[in-house]
């Protein structure tokens, strides 16, 4: 068992590496440079350069080239000429592109191209790259090697993740603080919701499985399918309007002067009802598989009551899939519920995630994705270990 857990923990390493690589590709390579967005719509090049520096966007992506002693002075003397040459090169490219475009669209006139803009840091990057390859070609490989700069965006991405120091969000608040603050509200919403759904749907599933083939069974299955087909949002909109506003049984929105517990009752119930359809059907299938077994018939034949058969014998044997789904749900519980939190103003992680998506806050998204991935990997392991606990037949070899 211990060996198995250790082995599984070692498997985590490549998974985490993979996750980091994927988040890096998603948020840094594809997401692009958001310094413009941070700087505001009226920003000038200098402010953007400053922001790029502060957030490390000016570092090389994976590995880059850094100047050696003496190179800086050469750069200063060659700077102007190099930028000019680069501009000319860029202009020629643009002119060729414009000519091709005109040809393609059948237009007779070729649009004059705009003056290419090249920032100094871009030019310097290219210059250093040229210098690096020149040294490699000239077999000055020792010097070229010394130029390799490992202080890259990718390394920073790793360091941030492993030290759990995610830095500041776009609104300049510490991401760690944001996340810690959000866990409480999220969990206070999702845990009652989750256990409520679990208890209600398992109890109903047992009853429905027992009544299989009757009108009740059909009616409940139809209701389940109907519930699953309705969009989640419609439950929220209806629930909020009817129970909170019309009937005034619950608060419409999280009120800071009231305890969190009071504000989460309605969203938790809405979440329960919305999730009931799929859960009930899932557990009904499991129960049906179980209820057809020989031991159930034997138990009934022995004269045990229906309640005893269902809750003592059937439920115990149906535990494996139930435990799997429960344990695997835990990471999602921590992450909260995007829509419920947004509509009811519960300041949890779901709300944070929604906000980060709409404001393109890649720093927050990155942190949340990484934490979530870790949790999922960890709880998958826990689920596997739990099998042994509920089913003695499972062995770890």
């Amino acid at each position: 068992m211990t060996a198995y857990i250790i082995r599984r923990l070692m498997y985590l390493a490549p998974i985490v590496f993979g996750v980091l690589l994927v988040t890096f590709v998603l948020f840094t390579l594809i997401g692009g440079d958001i310094s413009q967005q941070i700087a505001g719509k009226h920003a000038d090049a200098e402010t953007i350069a400053e922001i790029r520096h502060e957030y490390g966007f000016d570092k090389p992506l994976f590995v880059g080239h850094k100047p050696l002693e003496g190179d800086e002075a050469v750069w200063e003397s060659e700077k102007e000429g190099f930028i000019l040459a680069l501009k000319n090169e860029r202009r020629t490219q643009m002119e060729e592109k414009a000519a091709r475009k005109a040809e393609k669209s059948g237009s007779r006139t070729i649009e004059p191209v705009k003056e290419p803009q090249i920032a100094e840091y871009q030019a310097k990057k290219e210059w250093l790259s040229d210098l690096f390859w020149k040294r490699v070609r000239d077999k000055q490989s020792g010097q070229a090697w010394e130029m390799v700069d490992f202080d890259s965006q990718f390394v920073a991405h790793f360091t941030k993740a492993f030290t759990f120091r995610f830095g500041r969000a776009l609104d300049r608040e510490r991401i760690g603080e944001k996340i810690l603050r959000g866990i409480g509200p999220s969990v206070s919403l999702t845990i009652p919701m989750f256990f409520g759904t679990l208890i209600v749907s398992i109890s109903f599933a047992l009853v429905v499985a027992f009544l299989r083939g009757t009108v009740w069974d059909h009616a409940i299955v139809i209701l389940c399918v109907a519930g699953m087909s309705l969009p989640y949002l419609s439950f929220i909109i209806f629930g909020q309007y009817f129970f909170a506003y019309r009937l005034d049984w619950f608060p419409i929105f999280y009120a800071p002067d009231q305890p969190m517990g009071y504000s989460v009752v309605l969203p938790a119930m809405i979440g329960m009802v919305a999730g009931l359809g799929s859960n009930l059907r899932f557990y009904r299938t499991i129960m049906l598989d179980e209820i057809r077994n020989d031991y159930v018939r034997t138990a009934f034949a022995k004269g045990l009551t229906a309640r005893r058969v269902l809750f003592k014998h059937v439920l115990k044997n149906a535990m494996i899939p139930i435990v799997t789904s429960v344990v695997l749900s835990i990471p999602y519980l921590i992450l909260g519920s995007l829509l419920l939190e947004r509509f009811f103003g519960i300041p949890g992680l779901g709300y944070l995630m929604f906000d980060a998506v709409s404001s393109r806050d890649f720093f927050v998204l990155n942190a949340l994705t990484f934490i979530e991935a870790l949790l999922i990997a960890f709880f998958t392991l826990v689920a596997d270990v739990c099998y042994a606990w509920v089913d003695p037949r499972v062995k770890f070899d």
């Binding site: 505001g40 922001i51 669209s105 006139t109 609104d171 999280y254 002067d257 305890p259 103003g345 393109r360």
Partner: protein, 592 residues
Amino acid sequence: MLAVVFGGCKPGKPSAGREEMVLNQRLEANIQTLDPADVGDTSSDGVCREFCESLYAYDYLKRPHQVVPELAAAMPDISEDGRIYRIGVKQGVYFHDDPCFAGGKGRQLTAHDFVYAFKRLANVRVQSKNWYIFDGRVVGLDDFRNYTKTCEKDKVDYSRPVEGLYAEDDFTLVIKLHRPWPQLIFWLAFLPTAPMAREAVDYYGPDIILHPVGTGPFVLKQWHRGVYLEAVRNPAYREVYYPSEGAPGDAEAGLLRDAGRRLPFIDRVFWRVVVEDQPRWLLLMRGDIDINSIPKDNFGQAVSVVNDLTDEMKRRGMKMQLFDEPSTFWLGMNMSDPVLGSNKPLRYAINYAIDRQRFIEIIQSGKGRLAYGFVPPAMTSYDEGLKDWSPSRFDLQKARAYLKEAEKIHGGPIPKLRLAIGRTGTAQKQTLQFLSRCLTEIGLQIETELYDWPAFLEKLRTSDNQLYFSGWMADYPDAESFLGTFYGPNAPWPNSSNFHNSEFDAVYEQVSVMPDSPRRTELYRKAERIVIEEMPCAFVYHRVGYIIYHDWLDNLKADPYKAEAIGYGQLRYYKVNTQKRTNYRNNVEMKN
């Protein structure tokens, strides 16, 4: 159990104390920052304005808008050539009490605090979103900015002199400009030019965004980011009185009842962040928030076909104000695009193809006015004569005729055109659908593209677009704000249609240094006609703003320049009849 766990973090009850006057405000977006130098969005601006003041402000009641001194002792003393501003700073104004000051007592405001604040905008290490205000304007300030580039963060020497920005004595601020800049007065009424206490910046470091230490009528009490803010009346606020003169009709509307009374009236303000429309509307109906804009889905419930409140709203005692926003929305055409830029008849065809009246009815629920040009009717230089002259109108026959001509110029059928919009909500999708249907109606082929807002801005900035739906809202009551969006050197931003016209540019350069005069208005109109004639944009509509609020809120006058952010930044004038609110809340029928 949860109640016990989370009960600990509950703030003071909003309705504590009988005489306390509490206002329940709503925010439609998160507050990003409360540092005036860092403010770049409407919500942050509105809230921060309750804590920080600037040299000048707009008269609360008078229309057209009139600049009045706020922290300045009087209107600026401007040199003959319009280049030197000498501004007296009010004496006896104190910063909020804050631990950053010696003994926790706010110190007196001086002209040095303005010098520091403006230099802070220029400091590149601060990464202010608002440097553009002074960029290339004040003598020596750009050099100061260059100097900050050589400094480490937090090592900038603010005592370094700037030729065109200094305090002559403790209460006189001097600003010297490279060339006349009549709009400076509006920028001095702008939140980012609010004075900063150096003590606060040094004390709080990067967390200054959480601590607005200003001179305003309210003091921030607590801020739970993303959830709510609470502010209380500043007990040391100087003597400021409700205006005793207003615009015609203000007296009849009861807006002068409190004339001459000391401000502010409200003791406590709550801002709740409610991003989704439905809960915000339900909270308004319940009486839990006092004021709101009207969400699209609830428009029919609130406003009747004749632009009046519905009976249901009247029964609830709701009030509504309508106002022309200083905004214009247009279908922009990228002039640097080879298909559109060199084909004027094509641009005319697109212009004539848009059924603006139906656009306003369907997409805007009637909340708009037809646009004949870009200067909106809310501005004094609005040109009534455009209505008859402007080609900016819907005419299918003309559209088709121009399209034929355009195809001749192009040498074949017009290729498929891309039509882009920023933001990806339902309203934007409907806008695109509508516009693309108008254009396909005359035989054009359109491909629609939806981008999120930052991506859309990026497209405009790099001119990677053909047709796009966009607009502009004036920052200040001067049409110069609009003219700048067509000035050649401003391409591609804010001149996102990449419009280049030497005649227009010459007029713009002439008017941008002219103080207000009938001659200037005449030139504004001339410039506007040059643009319309060249048609880099098909002007579609000017938005009409709506605001709805409960009748227990008094002294509310909509400010079009705040648009959907109504009630942001002017709370000192508001008054709440708490008895009325209690009655409403206790009346079950009203509530539901």
